[in-house]
């Protein structure tokens, strides 16, 4: 609680304890593994669903309003309510319940940013591609999507970072990855070392994944680096 407590490893209930980490390393690694898996699955599924929706919204302008509005409403629904809708239908002990909620949340971020990226594709590039004889799909895959990649990647980064934080909500049904440590620590006589370990790992995971995506983005869009 105070600095003095932090200094003494022997404090009864320290905020941070190597001893806790050493004796519980397998539990911590399991929680971390579950966290990473849920995040990766959720973001992957969200990309697969969101990018085609963004393309549909890009091709058929009148649909972009409804698509954005629907994903916006899903985004407004509190995560706990979403869990309450999904868990009774899917099964409360399955991590699928958490996964579906995470995907629905990540959708809006990816759709909005991908669409913004697509809308920024220069008109000249589109016309040049059409003039060179690209079909609609050819232009999409070779010109529009590559040029929209920075927007898409921004969406994926935002979705990943917020998903890492959001996975913890699943702790209510015991499927929250590191959230299980945080909530479990709170319920287990306010075990501070467990709470802070879960929190620190969570923030670190978000940071590491964000950095990985930034580097992946640089590798995928060499032209944007040259421009700067």
């Amino acid at each position: 609680m105070s600095l003095r407590d932090l200094a003494y490893q022997d404090a009864a209930n320290p905020w941070f304890s190597w001893d806790y980490i050493r004796t519980n390393s397998s539990t911590i690694l399991d929680a971390l593994g579950e966290h990473v898996t849920l995040t990766a699955e959720a973001v992957a599924v969200a990309i697969v669903v969101a990018v085609p929706l963004a393309v549909v919204a890009y091709w058929y302008r009148p649909l972009s309003g409804p698509i954005l509005a629907l994903s916006g409403v899903l985004y407004t629904i509190p995560s706990l309510a979403l869990l309450a809708f999904i868990a009774p239908a899917v099964g409360p002990t399955k991590s699928t319940s958490v996964l579906i909620g995470l995907v629905l949340y990540a959708l809006l971020l990816i759709i909005r940013n991908t669409l913004a990226g697509l809308n920024q594709v220069p008109r000249e590039a589109q016309e040049a591609a059409t003039g060179m004889g690209y079909s609609r799909w050819g232009r999409l895959l070779r010109v529009d999507l590559p040029l929209a990649l920075p927007g898409l990647l921004t969406g994926v980064r935002l979705a990943t970072v917020s998903t890492v934080a959001l996975v913890t909500i699943g702790a209510l049904i015991g499927k929250g990855g590191l959230g299980n440590l945080i909530l479990g620590g709170f319920r287990n006589n306010f075990f501070k070392a467990q709470i802070t370990t879960g929190t620190i790992l969570c923030v670190l995971l978000a940071l590491v994944l964000d950095l990985i995506l930034i580097f992946a983005g640089r590798a995928l869009t060499p032209w944007s680096r040259r421009a700067r």
Partner: protein, 239 residues
């Protein structure tokens, strides 16, 4: 009887509304906690954001804060703060939720003041307005759409995250869902679903009401700017 029917039965029972710890009690707690958290966030974020925008400094700080809070799980702050000097009860929950209300409030206040046309600012200075007068008579009125958009985003987000207070037994409508999960799906599936409906309905209602407030607070000539203000808030996310 399926879960949907059970949820209807739960909601249709007047005692579930009026009992102590019933829906009305929980709604009261929910609104009290949310209101206090938004209020606390406003007290901190608006003066700071407006000041930073006026002086044109600290843009990096605003971005850093929103990036950082995006990565911190809500339940981490909800479990950590009660173990600090704040003690148990409502104060730590209100502070935790206020922290997550800061980024949209701060970012919009900053952008709102910052986006004022430099020519307008120069004209005001040329007319002999002091820095304080410039802020009060020119920058603040022009920032109103942004302030309103930030308020709406923050308030909706806080009302949504207040549901998570139930993880630490902090009250609010989320408590109905958490209690249901505690009893198990087979025993209380209806209660869980009913709680979900209530929490979602409240969030959507607040969103709709504040969208109206935002519109009313925005003078007609500034309305096209509202869309821009909305887009500014994307990056700050929600919980």
């Amino acid at each position: 009887m399926n879960v949907v029917q059970e949820a209807w039965v739960y909601l249709n029972d007047p005692l579930n509304w009026t009992n102590s710890g019933g829906i009305l009690d929980r709604l009261g707690e929910h609104l009290t906690i949310s209101g206090a958290a938004v209020g606390l966030g406003l007290l901190v974020a608006w003066p700071l954001g407006i000041w930073l925008g006026h002086t044109g400094r600290g843009g990096g700080l605003v971005v850093l804060l929103s990036d950082l809070t995006l990565a911190i799980p809500t339940i981490a702050l909800l479990t950590i703060l009660p173990l600090t000097f704040l003690g148990f009860g409502k104060p730590p929950i209100i502070v935790a939720l206020a922290v997550f209300a800061l980024p949209p409030l701060l970012a919009n206040a900053y952008t709102g003041v910052r986006q004022v046309d430099p020519e307008t600012r120069d004209a005001a200075k040329g007319m002999g307005l002091s820095g304080w007068q410039l802020l009060r008579r020119v920058e603040l009125p022009l920032a109103v759409p942004y302030l309103a958009a930030g308020f709406r985003t923050a308030a909706v987000q806080v009302v949504a995250t207040t549901a998570l207070a139930s993880y630490v037994n902090g009250g609010g409508l989320g408590q109905i869902i958490a209690e249901g999960f505690g009893l198990g799906i087979s025993a209380a599936g209806g209660q869980i679903l009913a709680g979900g409906v209530l929490v979602a309905a409240l969030a959507l209602l607040v969103e709709g009401a504040l969208a109206l407030v935002e519109r009313l607070a925005t003078p007609a000539p500034l309305r096209p700017a509202r869309r821009r203000a909305d887009r500014e808030t994307i990056a700050t996310g929600a919980a």
